[in-house]
């Protein structure tokens, strides 16, 4: 667990916007030069019928970069580390032995086995962040459902969005 009180950088999504176009997935493949196999972000689509009405949802799922990551805790070789400034949870492939324990520990399915037998997961595009660019999936999203900010800012953004919705669409608070 991180011991400092610094805010983390985080990808968050606006569930009212995603239409399941998969741009984030392919942009991620490009940014990490991935082969078929690992999908560090994946759009998960669900459908249900409630009272005769169809309901759909699409969610781009990558890694939440937990403050207290279960994958990091269970890693026997300490191959999973937390990046100090951003809070990104990263895998050091040279230390990874491919035991898959992290895969079982993560409730969200973030860590995956790469084709080389080592673990791979969303790295928050740490290389891009250092060049002041947003993560590839975020900068790709054509409908801006994927967004990027700090953990301090996200609640404020959501507050504003909610009030905007009430005020503009519903007409009153």
């Amino acid at each position: 667990m991180r011991t400092d009180q610094k805010e983390s950088l985080t990808i968050f999504f606006d569930l009212d916007k995603c239409v399941g176009c998969h741009a984030c997935e392919v942009a991620c493949k490009q940014a990490h030069n991935l082969d078929v196999g690992p999908r560090l972000i994946k759009v998960v689509s669900l459908e249900r019928v409630e009272n005769g009405k169809v309901e759909l949802i699409s969610v781009p799922m990558s890694c939440f970069h937990c403050y207290d990551p279960p994958c990091l805790k269970v890693c026997p070789t300490k191959a999973i580390v937390q990046h100090k400034d951003s809070g990104a949870v990263l895998v050091n492939k040279t230390k990874c032995i491919g035991c898959k324990v992290c895969l079982l520990a993560c409730p969200f399915g973030a860590p995956q086995l790469d084709n080389d037998g080592k673990m791979i997961k969303c790295d928050l595009c740490i290389d891009r962040l250092q060049k002041n660019e947003k993560p590839a999936c975020v900068s790709a999203c054509p409908v801006e459902a994927l967004q990027f900010s700090t953990t301090r800012e996200v609640p404020f953004i959501i507050k504003e969005k909610w009030l905007n919705y009430l005020w503009k669409v519903k007409g009153s608070l």
Binding site: D16, V19, C21, Q30, V36, L56, A140, P142
Partner: protein, 716 residues
Amino acid sequence: MVEFLETDGILRIKTVCPRNCFDSCGIIAYVKNGKIIKIEGDPEHPITRGHLCAKGYAALHRTYSPLRIKYPMKRVGPRGEKKFVQISWEDALNEISQKLKELHSEYGGEALMEYRYGGNRDIIAPLVAGRFLNLYGATMLGGTFCDASEYAGFIYTYGSLQFVPMEIWSEHTECVVIWGHRPEATHIHMIPFIYRAQERGAKLIVIDPRFSLLAMRSDLYLQPRPGTDGALALGMANYILEKNLEDRDFIERHTFGFEEFKKLVEEWPVERASEVTGVPVEKIKEAAEIIATRDTIIQLGMGLNRYTNSHNAVRAIACLAGLTGNIGKPGACCGFLDKSIHHFLTAKSELILFPEGAKINKKRRLVCITGANEAILAAKDPPIKAVICWRGSFIPQLMNVNKTLKAIEKLDLFVVIEQFMTDAADYADYILPACSDFEQGGLIPPYGHRYLQAMVPVIPPLYESRPDLEIWSELGRRLGFEKYFPEGWTWLDWAKILLPEEILDKIISPNGPWKVPPEIYPEVPYSNGKFPTPSGKLEFWSQKIVDYGKGKEGDWSPLPIYYEPVESPVTNPEISKKYPLIMISTLSPVRTHSQYINLPWMREIEGEPFIEINPEDAKIRGVNNGDLVCVFNDRGKLIVRARVTATIKKGVVNIFNGWWVKDGACPNCLTEVYAGGPRALGKAIFRMDDYSPAGTLDGQSGAYGCCLVEVKKVVQ
């Protein structure tokens, strides 16, 4: 003229995505040592705003794919057996030219036809090819299977095809109707503009046989039976007139033939429209009331083109907009594409097509692409003996694959210019390696916005590939037309014929995109109440369609009457006992028709080929989600997975268009060659002087949705 910005040895080059798509995204390619290392969206593009789509981000995966065709090849085994040997460019071009000379002396020029579509929407290479085909005297390829019927619908109603730009309507409209359109898959950069309109309080109505995430976020969702949109529009019009919600002032001042239209509409009480479309009466009324009382944008998609009655359906919807005064305002318009840039860019195209001093017969045979296979089978005096296929997917995209394969059998020469081993390449006599869009230059006329951009060659051609226009020029020089194809001319030299240099400067990296000024094409079309129709008004009644149709077979009704699609459960009750399901073939978000689906990344996202089927239809057939099913009719069969989903209307199944025949899931193995109206397709053979440019008066888009099938579980 072309300058690139360089930092740390990395060039940053602006270009544009040339796919057949509404968005024509601005791209920035980062190039190091002659290799593209990264692709991003151009943040300076006001519409695509720095974002691409799944296909756009696959650019490197596609360009540098090991699946690329690397050198010219010649068939050595029987056609379709896929046995090829490598040959040199010199030999390939010489042998092809020799064959073309022989065919010309034996049959005349019309024995040759090109097959081309929008695989790359650059306009320069097709004009250079057109110059060659004109000089040779080839059979011309005309029409489109994409949009011609909707285009005709608008020409006969409004006189032109223009649309208020999204950046304007999204700030003014009070209602957005998305009708027969799937922006999630084909027009992704429109979605933020829809959201913007909703944020401002605009209503959203979605009309689609398939429920979607956009429909989830709509205020009203209508799920008509495929091909009944005309009836739906007439039903809405009926309710509007019954409740006196029509825009009297607009009708009186700016429309023609209202009384006749009113009589037609009176035949369509909402109850009848409901019965035909399967949309509940209350929903039709609600939609009609919203459209009549708000400034409404009606954005149609390509879906309406897919039926034999599509020109009338579009006329009915265009008239609905006229009836409610929803046209000519910043927040009210009805249309499906904007052709402003296309017209701007092609204004001087005749200079390339018909070079000065050359003797060119302008009354040659013309084949409508929608029935290209039928035409090859039927053509006589002379027969069509050679096809050069490029920028298009000859086999999977034409209706009735069996007919296409038979047509290929009839050819003496089948040349395929390609990047990948497509179905057509498998059958080729000669395969010529084509450049990707990053290896050749061109100009792209977007149809979803008004920003003009150049496709810039950011890297040299890979392997032995050559730019398309060079291949055509080489053929031209070998056939004795040296003076019309100057040695060494690049895309830029040809571009200068079309556009003045000061405009080219504005659109080529590091500049661009450049918006065609509103002085040339007004941003709010028809705002002065004037329509470029014979009466100068919006025409409910079209005399033009009657006049153009004289002596031509087809449906030349001056009013937007509704009739059933040629193949539907209502038209063919007997056939539908055997094949009760309507099969539509819509678009997947991870490909453009048949492009991209051969790429591993895209296959990984899409998974195995599947057919969407409603749970009730699945249940009575004992089909469960994920089951292997056989989809069949008398024309063929496909084995695919069942995706049982309540998003699709009962009685309808959907399979994504673009699967290759060799993948075993190409929907056109089941479709028949049917075309939208008004002009009857027949054997698709016409004459250049008796056909409208791009088929805009003839219609004849592909009626892919007129297809009845049955689905049964495959017992393993």
